[in-house]
Symmetry: C2
Subunit: 143 residues, 2 copies
């Protein structure tokens, strides 16, 4: 899962998620310290014009082409502005965290991703699908 800085263009973050079919991207500060995850639904909330979010019935009476054209309008907002209004921090693990510890953290925090950090800087991220796969391949030899 790629990382995007707080001061990056939010539109570019949405494009990254679209291109790589990602459910989210990790947001880091200017020291590459992980802060949170920007999720797909949040990116959609940013890409869509706010008056559509306020009144979804408008989307129904709008023809598809004009509605899509509206979504193309660039909004000059940074990732930091988009994620500013929520407090969900990203669960963080270190290089010595075990697979089972990561699985427990995800299950308890209901988080589909955790950040891997060394010396406070983001090294990468792990998704729940990867952890499930790792747990199951660890058990592949059993009946």
């Amino acid at each position: 899962m790629p990382a995007v800085r707080l001061d990056a263009d939010a539109w570019d973050a949405a494009r990254l998620m679209a291109e790589h079919r990602l459910p989210g991207v990790v947001i880091v500060d200017d020291q590459d310290r992980p802060r949170c995850v920007l999720t797909g639904p949040e990116a959609l909330g940013f890409v869509l014009p706010s008056y559509l979010l306020d009144d979804p019935a408008l989307a129904r009476v709008m023809d598809e082409e004009s509605a899509e054209a509206l979504c193309r309008e660039r909004h000059d907002r940074t990732v930091g502005e988009v994620v500013a209004d929520r407090g969900r921090p990203l669960p963080v693990v270190g290089l010595d965290t075990t697979l089972v510890e990561i699985a427990l953290l995800m299950a308890r925090e209901r988080s589909p991703v955790v950040a891997v950090v060394a010396d406070g800087r983001l090294l990468g991220a792990v998704t729940s699908a990867r952890v499930l796969a790792a747990l199951q391949s660890a058990g592949a030899g059993t009946p």
Copy 2:
């Protein structure tokens, strides 16, 4: 995103998510009507032994191999039993729902997936990453 029935083995649902690197699977009833999404973190909560979930400190003092061996133990629970204790319904759209309407629904419900239904039966599912990609390719010709 594949669908799994309520009476399926929960372990098989977790395996499906691992194999296809999915953030979740759609759960349907015995008439193939969508009910909810089983997420990766929920699957991990099922795969892990409950005493580890109750006391995560145990994972730290356990060597990695024995912890993983515990995760291999099959729990004879159905998908329906795993998802029974929560009320988050899956957002549903029809074949005539527009791209922008789907995007709005995801943004408002904070849902990374919606089910596509005809005559009450599940036809498929759409993820937020796909919707972002579709919106952006619709605008690909603009500067």
